[in-house]
Symmetry: none
Subunit: 268 residues, 2 copies
């Protein structure tokens, strides 16, 4: 028996590990209470509060009296997120657009990175774009020269697009050449993951409706794992990463048969 046993229990875990587990609890239950966490992890409330402070500082939770809740950022400023890393996303988008051939039908998920891709698509190349995000649809309508098909359904404000059953049903009746599911987390061994249950189901439907899948991921998504699995890595043909992406990480995906495309460096 290994003496440094895998932490099946919640007692005696490393500080960082504890924070991850707190985050997992928060994501699954929607809230955490400081006193309860102190009891579960067998540490003082002070340590729990320190953890919550750090998580809140990274924007991963919202501190409230008595514990923490899911950040309001999850359900608020989508408008803000659009202007987060413009240059990095543009560099990624330019690389991703290189995979698109004239006349193809694309399935584009909601998300800021995907909006950058839509903005970088060449107009007048006979492209058909199917999307569940009103923002992306509007962007393409304004640019003209695209055939746009909108996926309807109830819209999640935090996601910025339709992801419910109705949306999945519509995608099932479609067929695309290429799809761009927004990545929440992608790992060479464990595949593609999402933070939300319905969102992940929708991404899976997208992938199943497309011949090829392109995952475009900023650095923070690489090697991360979220709560809900979207697909095995075998379903992903292309991965577009930033210039700054670790060489070893890129190799890890390559050996699984994924074509890794590296974006140009950004001046910043």
């Amino acid at each position: 028996m290994v003496k440094s046993a895998p932490p099946a229990d919640d007692r005696n875990v490393l500080p960082e590990e504890r924070q991850q587990r707190i985050l997992a609890r928060l994501r699954s239950e929607g809230r955490v209470v400081a006193v309860e966490l102190a009891e579960v992890f067998e540490v003082s409330e002070d340590s729990i509060r320190r953890d919550l402070r750090e998580l809140a500082a990274r924007g991963l939770c919202k501190r409230v009296y008595g514990g923490a809740l899911l950040p309001a950022v999850t359900l608020t400023p989508l408008k803000q997120r659009r202007t987060e890393h413009p240059l990095r996303k543009q560099a990624l988008a330019r690389q991703a657009v290189g995979l698109v051939k004239p006349g193809q039908t694309l399935l584009i998920d909601a998300g800021t990175t995907n909006a950058a891709i839509a903005a970088a698509l060449p107009a007048g190349s006979g492209l058909s774009v199917i999307t569940n995000a009103p923002h992306i649809a509007q962007l393409l309508l304004d640019r003209e020269g695209f055939e746009v098909l909108l996926i309807g359904g109830r819209i999640s404000a935090s996601i910025g697009g339709a992801v419910g059953t109705q949306a999945v049903e519509q995608v099932r009746r479609l067929r695309a050449d290429l799809c761009f599911p927004g990545a929440c987390a992608i790992d060479a061994a464990r595949g593609l993951w999402g933070f939300d249950s319905e969102e992940s189901l929708f991404k899976r439907a997208m992938i199943e409706a497309s011949d090829e899948t392109v995952v475009v991921a900023t650095d923070d998504k690489l090697g991360a794992v979220a709560t809900y699995q979207v697909a095995e890595l075998a379903r992903v043909q292309h991965l577009v990463v930033e210039h700054s992406a670790d060489r070893a990480t890129r190799a890890a995906f390559s050996v699984h048969g994924v074509l890794v495309h590296r974006a140009d460096a950004v001046p910043g």
Copy 2:
């Protein structure tokens, strides 16, 4: 066993969480009663009143004797009056928004006038908005405080929204309190008309899915007739016209049982 109880219950919740749930109840039921809340959350009425006071201070509810209601549907706040949009459409929109009651479900067609209406809607009044226009959906998502349902389908660039068979099918499965079909032309004797075949079919479906219909028309639409009929005038309950609309024209609609609402004069 259930020592660290998940928030399935309404008892033993964090203060801030409780406020969120009160707000959720308010949005779904349109009103909350202080005594009932005190019982449900197992706190004193004093705490409930404090919660309601804070929510009211943030403009999220309206305090009344015995509890709270959704904030009144007020006209557009000053800041929106300063946008660069045409003043005439804003005046129309402000008048149209006066017909909306808290908690209602609205069906809003594509079009610039309707976009002005969406921009003038009060946030946080528990309104559900169904629209076929990505632009309007995006606008409401950015403003927050709305439930948004998107009608999908192939998008016509000239119309700015989905109007095909698929869109009509989705509308048929819905039910709304109020609908705002964009008017191409409206005539007291011949009813509501549109320029495009599919667009007109979609507008008709909207009207059939709604309890009441509000037509908002700029002066140039009044007394005009287009190619495709959308509906008889009997299906239209409200007509919002500009301040400058002819008195005789307004009377012509009134005698057909249509409630005519005249917008305020614009300074221009």
